[in-house]
């Protein structure tokens, strides 16, 4: 790892899109080396929160203390739609470009970096696809390639936005195992998810967000019927307030 994981603290964090609040008054801590699911209704500010942790969205109020972690120490895997799939580039090149996060724009991507990219492709079960253009991949295969790129980044903090939303069950299972391996190496992992069974099964910590934080802690204590009811009500209240504004 390029830098050891450090806790990421939120202190009264409020994020806005224009004047509309996306996240309101979040206080708490992503512990170093924790494995956290971020769940909540649509429009609850989950994606905005990940972007803010990665430094792509400025807090309106409050602050995020990343404990001295640099942008290159935080890897963000956005929803796959953000990337231009028709670009004429091979899987291996996409994965190798993950090194640019550490090497910058100009330092050479040499033989060790290519070897690391090849190994990462093998780890996600895509060794045979190294020379294939990304345009020819299925959604699941493409997500595997993006996972490989994230591995190559070798970051202390991994942020994933709905990584399994367009992916088949087998790919989900394999990528979850991979994520657990990366977590076992001491990295902090936070993922926005919808599948609550998956959250219960694989994520020890959960943050339930409905614009305002509803609950944050051990997954079993967060995923109660009462909390989920509160999240639904809070989300409806926010929707109404937004519609009225």
């Amino acid at each position: 790892m390029s830098a050891p994981a450090r806790p990421i603290q939120f202190d009264g964090l409020t994020l806005r899109h224009g004047r509309q609040p996306a996240v309101l008054g979040l206080t708490g801590c992503l512990a170093a080396g924790s494995l956290t699911a971020i769940i909540g209704p649509n429009g609850a500010g989950k994606t905005t929160l990940l972007r803010a942790i990665a430094g792509l969205h400025k807090p309106a109020e409050g602050r995020i203390d990343r404990g001295g972690l640099l942008p290159r120490d935080i890897a963000l895997l956005p929803q796959a739609s953000a990337l231009d799939r028709r670009f004429p580039i091979t899987c291996l090149d996409v994965v190798a470009l993950g090194h640019a996060a550490r090497l910058g724009a100009f330092r050479a991507i040499g033989r060790p970096e290519i070897a690391a990219a090849t190994a990462a492709l093998a780890a996600v079960g895509m060794a045979d696809a190294a020379a294939r253009p990304i345009g020819s991949l299925s959604a699941g295969q493409f997500q595997r390639v993006l996972f490989a790129r994230m591995m190559v980044q070798d970051a202390a903090v991994l942020l994933l936005d709905e990584p399994f939303s367009a992916v088949d069950t087998r790919t989900t299972e394999e990528l979850i195992r991979l994520l657990q391996r990366l977590h076992a190496e001491g990295r902090t992992v936070a993922a926005v998810l919808h599948d609550l069974d998956l959250v219960r099964q694989a994520f020890p910590q959960t943050l339930l967000l409905a614009c305002e934080p509803i609950a944050w802690g051990a997954t079993a204590s967060v995923l109660t019927e009462a909390n989920r009811q509160r999240a639904r009500l809070a989300a409806e209240a926010w929707d109404e307030r937004r519609a009225a504004a």
Partner: protein
């Protein structure tokens, strides 16, 4: 016969200079064009080709017929229009085409008005180019622009790919995408302006874009497409200059028509994603 058709024209000094200039343009422009196509910025090239004209006209008004003053005016106007178009694209949230059309119509009208007010400047030559006008200074300008543009493209190659492929990743990794984008636009403007004497402001973009658009029918990888685009541009230059010589057509339209011919060939029967390929695959699926 073959000698008369293909070789005799290039025994003339001005044809050789025009060819040398077009080779320089063919080496520098099409690789940039490939990136313009990949970044879905083909419309931007329309804006540029019209946008540099008022700058060149203003240069002609201020500096007489000095090539360097006209070139500098074209560069300044091209950069200004490129920045304006970029801002419009962001401000309009992806509905930039109508604003782009507005920008280039106004720019073209302004350029034509300025030039018409100035005696001694032939509008046709500025718009469509003239091989006869390629003197040593022009040639030096074209070769100089290519000598700057090619190495500069090589230097910004990786950040440019990253920014075209996945701007979100670039931003998240803390690499600034905007600076590379600007550097890229400056190179595009440089190449378009450097071609205006030989090809004309309206046609200069053609030698950059048509081979780049055609390249996807000839190669699957980025590097392959860049090589294909350069090869197509070189072929179009030779064909176009011959057409210009024999049929007495201005060089710009002749070269762009040749490039267009190669593009149509690629579209119909190229080795990749052409109509012929698609039908061949279709028949195989049926058979």
């Amino acid at each position: 016969m073959i000698h008369d058709l293909f070789l005799a024209p290039f025994e003339l000094g001005f044809m050789r200079r025009a060819l040398a200039g077009c080779i320089a343009l063919s080496l520098a422009g099409p690789p940039l064009g490939v990136f313009l196509v990949l970044r879905r910025m083909a419309l931007m090239s329309d804006v540029l080709q019209h946008g540099i004209l008022p700058g060149i006209a203003a240069g002609a008004v201020l500096g007489g017929l000095s090539l360097w003053v006209m070139g500098a005016g074209g560069l300044a106007a091209g950069l200004a229009v490129a920045l304006l178009a970029g801002w419009l694209a962001r401000a309009s949230g992806g509905r930039e085409d109508s604003q782009f059309a507005g920008v280039y119509l106004v720019a073209l009208a302004l350029g034509v008005a300025l030039i018409s007010a100035q005696r001694g400047v032939d509008l046709t030559h500025l718009l469509f180019g003239s091989v006869l006008a390629v003197d040593d200074a022009t040639l030096l300008g074209m070769a100089g622009a290519a000598s700057v543009a090619l190495p500069a493209l090589a230097v910004i190659w990786r950040p440019l790919i990253l920014e075209s492929l996945d701007p979100g990743f670039m931003a998240a990794a803390g690499l600034r995408g905007g600076a590379w984008h600007l550097a890229f636009l400056a190179l595009v403007v440089l190449c378009v302006v450097s071609g205006f004497v030989a090809l004309g402001t309206l046609m200069s973009v053609g030698l950059m874009m048509l081979p780049a658009v055609a390249a996807r029918h000839f190669a699957a990888t980025l590097a392959g497409q860049v090589r294909a685009a350069v090869a197509l541009a070189l072929a179009a230059s030779v064909l176009g200059l011959l057409l210009s010589y024999h049929a007495d057509v201005p060089a710009g339209p002749a070269i762009v028509l040749s490039a267009g011919g190669l593009w149509v060939m690629g579209l119909l029967a190229g080795p990749r994603e052409s109509l012929l390929r698609r039908h061949a695959i279709g028949w195989r699926a049926i058979g």
